[in-house]
């Protein structure tokens, strides 16, 4: 499968990455090589096989419905680039 520069732009947007023109071009080149690698899969006969998400095939464990956490806002919010009044601040979200 081939990749156009608009594909690259679309993927970069989905991933919220900004690529300069130079980076885009390089990304497209790399992409083509990587796709050539992963396209080798297409030759494999996988008819009738169930996809395998995990090597271990056990069941999801369950947790008791108990509140185990206490308020750690002050400690955790020290890690934030921007906060005020207990809130994380981001540039204005326009709905």
């Amino acid at each position: 499968m081939s990749v156009s520069s608009s594909d690259i732009a679309y993927i970069a947007h989905l991933a919220r990455l900004h690529l300069s023109e130079d980076e885009s071009e390089k990304a497209a080149d790399n992409f083509r090589n990587i796709l050539a690698l992963i396209d080798q899969m297409q030759a494999a006969d996988t008819k009738g096989l169930q996809p395998l998400s995990h090597a271990i095939e056990t069941s999801q464990p369950l947790r008791e419905d108990k509140v185990t956490e206490s308020n750690q806002r002050d400690t955790l919010q020290k890690l934030a680039p921007k906060s005020e009044a207990g809130l994380y601040l981001v540039p204005k979200v326009i709905e």
Partner: protein, 477 residues
């Protein structure tokens, strides 16, 4: 041209667990911002989810209540998108293998007819946080207390044909999840939210028209209004020869209109894939049966029972069984006083009128079921007339005490003293020989005159039923 409305509803119900879907943070409503967001909820590097046992049990309980297929294996997926109130950059949800599959819900419509609406699926997912748009120097504040709260998303088939049906469906869902004890379903707190997919087509068409999705409608009334205005908007467009654009729209209750949410329209490519931090959930028949054994009597079954056990009319049974709290209250009143019919009237008419007027829940009623039953007993034993009973009830609601107390303190008891009442009757008859003559010559209606006279003598306190009996006795002598 006749248009047919086609509606499918996606209802998010917040599951009433103590802790979040994947972390041990509290789900309590109304806490200070970000005080209930732990390292997992904040998506700190290296943190991992573990599924809340109770959320799974609640989802399955719901599935059993709508007679749905329960998946023996269900899978969580990541739904990827960037938004500041979504800390991980993906929402953990279920796409291809939801826990609850196809089921249905039967609703009763205004005209008394019933309709069964298919439910496509119900799946567990995490709620997002909240964006606070008030001004922080031109920035938005993010509160992640709600992030990770468990939701059950219940998706209906597009089988709803009017706003009224939509509201009936929602009310039934509301009643059901509350019966099951799996959600408070309080729309004002946002723990029941509704998105409506609305389209129209010409009557008789088999293809669906292009639909729009109206997001986040937060009351039953708004559901009705939002659907109405959206249907009208779509009819106007089509009748003008235009085309409906498939999009997400927001209902603005102030203006009573829907408007396009263009900002959310950009590239909805959610890139779902199985959540690798969680394993498939597998359950067995024994587990399902154990959950089934905890199912309470559901509204429909309760209504049937009220009709057969208490001989209630279908209408009374429907009203009393609609909410679990009302039904429980009613049955407690019956247990106290033994009269199902009188209890039904007092709960669904007198008490309900008061609760509506004061806008309080039946659980917060100032008169307990035992107290109301006590009041009804006083009617049955003749201490109160239907009129004095209402006076007594008003006093009880005002907090003046139980039936005995308000009767004593306010001198409300009827006089049922046989001897005293007989004496009064005898003296009344003695003083009105003409009327006695009239009665004896066949004018039995005059008896009400005597009753009136006795009541006048006793200031209304004589037991009218008893007075009637004494009068008949004396007059036949």
């Amino acid at each position: 041209m006749t248009w047919e409305t086609v509606i499918g509803l996606e209802v998010h119900v917040q599951l009433a667990t103590a802790s979040k879907l994947f972390s041990g943070s509290s789900t309590r409503f109304g806490a200070e911002p970000n005080t209930q967001a732990n390292i997992y909820d904040l998506a700190m590097p290296g943190t991992l989810p573990v599924l809340n046992r109770e959320a799974l049990r609640m989802a399955i309980k719901f599935g059993l209540a709508i007679d749905a297929e329960i998946a023996m294996t269900s899978v969580f997926d990541r739904k990827n998108y960037f938004y500041p109130d979504l800390p991980k950059g993906y929402q953990t949800s279920q796409l291809d293998f939801p826990t609850v599959g196809k089921g249905s819900l039967t609703v009763t419509l205004e005209d008394g007819s019933s309709k069964t609406i298919g439910i496509t699926r119900a799946h567990m997912e995490e709620d997002a946080g909240k964006s606070l748009h008030e001004d922080f120097h031109g920035q938005t504040g993010i509160d992640l207390n709600r992030a990770g709260t468990p939701l059950l998303e219940i998706v209906s088939e597009p089988e709803i044909r009017s706003a009224d049906e939509a509201v009936a469906y929602l009310k039934k869902l509301h009643s059901l999840v509350r019966y099951l004890g799996i959600s408070d379903a309080d729309m004002s707190k946002g723990n029941m939210r509704c998105d409506a997919n609305v389209s129209i087509r010409q009557a008789g068409d088999t293809e669906f028209g292009t639909r729009t999705e109206i997001k986040n409608i937060n009351s039953f009334r708004f559901v009705e209004k939002a659907i109405h205005v959206e249907v009208e908007r779509q009819i106007d467009i089509l009748e003008d020869g235009g085309r409906i654009v498939q999009e997400t729209r927001l209902y603005d209750s102030d203006r009573n209109e829907t408007r396009s949410m263009r900002s959310k329209e950009v590239a909805n490519d959610y890139r779902y894939f199985p959540e690798p931090d969680l394993l498939p959930i597998t359950i067995d028949e024994a587990y399902i049966e154990a959950v089934r054994a905890t199912l309470p009597e559901l509204p429909d079954a309760k209504r049937e029972r009220f009709m057969s056990e208490y001989k209630l009319s279908e209408y009374d049974a429907l009203v009393l069984a609609a909410e679990r709290e009302t039904a429980d209250f009613y049955e407690a009143v019956v247990a106290e006083c033994g009269d199902a019919k009188l209890s039904a009237n007092w709960v669904s008419v007198d008490l309900q009128a008061y609760l509506n007027q004061e806008e309080i829940d039946i659980d917060d009623s100032p008169v307990s079921p035992v107290q109301l039953g006590g009041l009804i007993k006083k009617i049955i034993d003749g201490t109160l007339s239907s009129k004095t009973a209402k006076t007594a009830f008003a006093l009880m609601l005002a907090g003046e005490g139980d039936a005995d107390t308000v009767i004593n303190n306010n001198d409300l008891a009827q006089n049922s003293d046989m001897e005293a009442n007989t004496n009064i009757v005898v003296s009344v008859l003695k003083n009105h020989p003409d009327q006695v003559e009239q009665y004896k010559s066949g004018n039995t209606k005059v008896i009400s005159f005597f009753v009136g006279q006795v009541m006048k003598e006793t200031k209304g306190k004589a037991n009218p039923q008893q007075v009637n009996e004494i009068l008949k006795d004396e007059l036949s002598k």
